[in-house]
Amino acid sequence: MKNINEIRADFPVLGTTVYGKPLVYLDNGATTQKPQCVINAVNEVYTSYNANIHRGVHALSDRASEEYENAREKVRSFINAGCREEVIFTSGTTGSINTVAFSFGERFIKSGDEVIISCLEHHANIVPWQMMCERKGAVLRVIPVNDKGEIIIKEYLRLINRRTRIVSVSQVSNALGTILPVKEIIEAAHSKNIPVLIDGAQGIQHGKVDVAEMDCDFYVFSGHKIYGPTGIGILYGKAEWLSELPPCQGGGDMVANVTFEKTTYNELPFKFEAGTTNFAGAIGLGAAIDYVKTIGFDYIGSREKELLSHATSRLSSIGDVMIYGNSENKISIISFLIKGVHQYDAGMILDKMGIAVRTGTHCAQPVMERFGIQGTVRASMCFYNTKEEIDMLGTGIEKVISMFSK
């Protein structure tokens, strides 16, 4: 097993400086850094065997197609999907949700039907459903959250009714870090034969996901949040659902036969992969999954838990810091405000100290509104962060307070 210094050395960006200071990267919720093996894998595509997939008769195209399908198999086994047909490469979580929202809407939603999401959702799991509801005359229902930032299950159960067609919630809140009780959510929906989409954008990188065990109908995530390249993501769907849904984009590779009178679609998973996909990104994602497996979720989970507890006690020790999202079930995200200091001011000063955090509404305006705030500062940690970095954040916050309380 590698030690933390060896792990950090795998990620070139972690060794860089900003404004002459060593980078303290605490914005992993927005995107994670890439280990050298992922960078090499993408590099190798372009330096050794770049060719369009599923099209060529030549050796390079064979190799590229094979590596692409290998990556699909890696994802399948990583999330324990039943078969490769259930694993679709998309552009990311947003692309995946838009696909389901559109195609599911076309096939199953009528005027007056209802879709349930939660108040914690990222805009990517709100707007596509809103657009679909507007198109179809359907209604969006929202599960409220309590003061700790947890969804209120009792209210969720009340929202389910005979008009509910689909439930779409995140596994983990990106703004607050709350882990949602997805099993409970899925079981309740399934008892009424309602399918559930789980937005795993903030879940996939923090613990083992087993879609068979979870029994979700759709699971979506982005490659760039699990140490893979950007512009690639996954839409997992149970085959019985995916085969029912019409494709939402037409083009090459997704067709079986095209005439001007009638086009028949290709089989799964290609039906949902119109055009040349980001095959280099997919291969990079495969390498990222290999990397995560060598580190292992036992290590990742225990280390991130330690970091969260250290950060929570360090930040709580600063009198003027208010933490938003206080569920016992949280991943390593701390969303906070400093009394009397605008989050943007705090972020800018921390930036100048080499500390990268995110400020603002985190693309989750409704949950900010729920807490009556305009935004927060968010420190999102992952296994390659250190307690020393969190202490630097603590010192940074104290410096911010001294600057703005003059």
Partner: protein
């Protein structure tokens, strides 16, 4: 002082500091010195919405020059707002339209006015220039009528 003289004096003030924290401290002080906007103008009509911070901008035109007052909910943004007001308020529409705001770059705050940093500042400069263009056009029409 001309637009550029004011810009040069701001650059001078910042040039004594090497450290970023000192520069930001100076910005915070500028923000505090910004003449308060009348609360009745701190409403939606005068709001320039940024994703990160908000800016309110009010102006008056006396037929010759445009005066601006403004505010922001973030103090560092307010500091930069204050500098923009120092440079552009009380100027003729022509001066505002032709102003090349090089001081931002010189004092190292360019990133704060980049389109990727949605803090309301770039939109504020655009809005100031738009007002100036509108008054220039009105003045020209007025002269033609006379």
């Amino acid at each position: 002082m001309s637009v550029n003289e004011v810009q040069d004096s701001i650059i001078d003030e910042f040039s004594v500091f090497d450290d970023w924290m000192d520069k930001y401290n100076l910005l915070i002080d500028f923000g505090k010195d910004l003449p308060a906007i009348d609360p009745k103008y701190k409403v939606k009509d005068y709001l320039i919405e940024g994703c990160q911070s908000k800016v309110w901008l009010y102006h008056e035109f006396n037929g010759n020059v445009i005066s601006f007052t403004a505010d922001s909910d973030a103090i560092i943004t307010k500091g930069i707002v204050s500098l923009l007001i120092k440079v552009l308020s009380g100027r003729t529409p022509e001066e505002i339209i032709s102003a090349d705001l090089y001081f931002i770059e010189k004092i190292g705050l360019r990133q704060n006015l980049s389109p990727t940093r949605s803090n309301g500042l770039l939109a504020m400069v655009r809005q100031m220039k738009l007002y100036a263009m509108a008054y220039k056009a009105t003045n020209k029409r007025q002269k033609e009528i006379n």
